[in-house]
Symmetry: C2
């Protein structure tokens, strides 16, 4: 399968009647190339349907035009959405996106040990997971720019949401409705959360209070309610986790009248448990999540919406800026996109139909 005869830069140059060097400069937007010449070369390239060989470009010192993205779970809505935004932004800048799945600890270890992205990309985007010191060092050894999206990793430019604020939006809503005993289903999946909002460390492997959980505590405190740690259960990510968490909460001597779930899928799991237990939502128990997953609208779930795709897009833009060397030095920028409470049918005042 030799494919069609490849068009080389020399072909373009010849057709445009210039040298290879000039052709290269013309195509590369270098200064000191007459506008007319540049146009002629462009035209020739266009006519020949020329595409530079990434290998040769890179070998000769140029950029690869590729960026790697480290994604824990491509099949989850959150990551898919992030990926979609990222791809759009990078594609607009003519960059290709190479994906590397780093799900479980083994895959993760394998990735950082072998560093398969080595010398293949110009930048790396880390999607929503904490990076420990060792990993940070390995990444640094790649010698490329790194950007984090969907979560914060101190020391890298990043874009995400303020988990604490999002958590407050959810909790305050519950508190305003009159709930006093509010449970929280936290997710222990470190893959999912980034470093804490004030995380000074490179990463956080210890389950240091994540923003959403700290919001639970703070909201309660502000309302003059003593936080009861029994009301916080930590489960693995996913619907089943949420279901388990709810079951545990229901098993308490004094169950909550409302539950703040780490995210929508967890919330949906919690709701299934409630339904199976014969409890009505929101009459008997209110539930709120975070994300505004498309299925939240379908299941009438009250939630705190976050602009996921926009986070991906913005991260892509940061990458482009970094590659152009346009990123200001000093503190890496940490952009926080706004979240918004979306009222639907799974929350109501305690003990009262909506």
């Amino acid at each position: 399968m030799p494919g069609p005869p490849r068009v080389t830069l020399d072909d373009v140059a010849r057709r445009a009647g210039v040298s290879t060097a000039t052709a290269s400069r013309a195509l590369g937007d270098h200064p000191h190339v007459a506008a007319a010449t540049r146009a002629r070369v462009r035209e020739a390239a266009e006519a020949l349907d020329y595409v530079a060989s990434p290998e040769a470009t890179r070998l000769a010192g140029g950029p690869t035009g590729r960026v790697a993205v480290l994604v824990p779970h491509p099949s989850r809505w959150f990551f898919g959405e992030l990926l979609e935004g990222l791809e759009a932004a990078l594609r607009a800048a003519d960059l290709d996106l190479v994906i590397f799945r780093v799900g479980g600890p083994e895959e993760r270890a394998a990735f950082f040990a072998r560093l398969p992205a080595r010398r293949k990309v110009d930048a790396v985007v880390v999607l929503a997971f904490a990076v420990d010191e060792l990993e940070h060092a390995r990444l640094a050894s790649l010698g490329v720019d790194v950007v984090a999206a969907g979560g914060r990793v101190a020391s890298y430019p990043s874009v995400g949401i303020d988990d604490h604020v999002a958590g407050r939006q959810a909790m305050d809503h519950l508190v305003h409705l009159g709930h006093r005993r509010i449970g929280m289903i936290a997710v222990g999946d470190t893959q999912r959360s980034g470093a804490g909002p004030s995380g000074k460390d490179v990463g956080c492997l210890a389950p240091e209070p994540d923003g959403r959980t700290s919001a639970w505590r703070a909201a309660l405190g502000d309302a003059g309610i003593a936080p009861d740690d029994e009301l916080v259960v930590t489960v693995p990510w996913g619907g089943e986790g949420g279901a388990d968490g709810m079951a545990r909460l229901l098993g308490l001597r004094s169950p909550p009248t409302a539950v703040f779930a780490h995210d929508d899928e967890t919330a949906l799991g919690a709701i299934r448990t409630l339904r199976r237990a014969g409890l009505r939502v929101p009459e008997d128990l209110s539930v709120i999540g975070v994300d505004d997953h498309p299925l939240a609208a379908l299941t009438d779930l009250t939630t705190v919406a976050q602009p996921v795709r926009a986070q991906g897009r913005r991260a892509g833009e940061l990458v482009v800026a970094a590659l152009r060397g346009e990123l200001a030095d000093g503190l890496p920028p940490a952009e926080l996109l706004p979240t918004r409470l979306v009222l639907r049918g799974t929350t109501s005042p305690p003990g009262a139909p909506r």
Copy 2:
């Protein structure tokens, strides 16, 4: 950001006391290299933590080690899952996955017009969408192998499920429960469905009866029920589409007692409409979908499960085989993975509580 000083093959060769050529052959498992020499070179490479520059390797005649994947909607579970399986299979073969989003017609046109993958990849994987003749030609001009996953594209090796069989599993279940008036919510999104099961054409843009819809008709026929075309509504993909479809079905003079939705998300949308209309599921109306989306389990939705990730993985394996030139000539293989009815709580005999 120059990164660490790179170790070249020459360094390794020098350390092993051989020429670059020999070092290359030793590392590349070529014949005609003395075992002792090979060992010495290996050792030197190991000691120096040598990693070949993929660029140089490729430039010198090798393959790129990259494969492109064309995906319509990365954020949808179905595609994410496909991607995940694909990535795993390719990574195992040391191939990188470059993603190209080809959602709307414009993006699609842009992709095929610019053919950005040209010379950048060794193969292309098309995820679950039909390819028209023009596109097929463009793809062919890339001179690379093409594989389809999650849907069939005649003329390319592919892996997917038999939509007709899956549809029959769903429909037969409904028929066996005693339903006589069964509606179908089909999805008009051509992105989602591949060519019809008997598609001889390269692609199918016209909404030729897709497998699931033909199954609706066939199952009814086999049960001695005259198919009423009024009961088939076509909607755009997604929960909202499903909700609309259900509303239309409910508006019929004689509404169905059961509904077969194209997929789980559509089914979930349909259920929302039912709930809002005050109808109970499955007591008043049964609903079944296809996919076994993780949220189907959470919402207790009866469905026909399909092994999505496996489809991706298998497609990856086909790519690897193709790259090795191991694919038998002649008819491109079209693998069909099995689907399975998953009984849950949204179906029951008509007019009777479960």
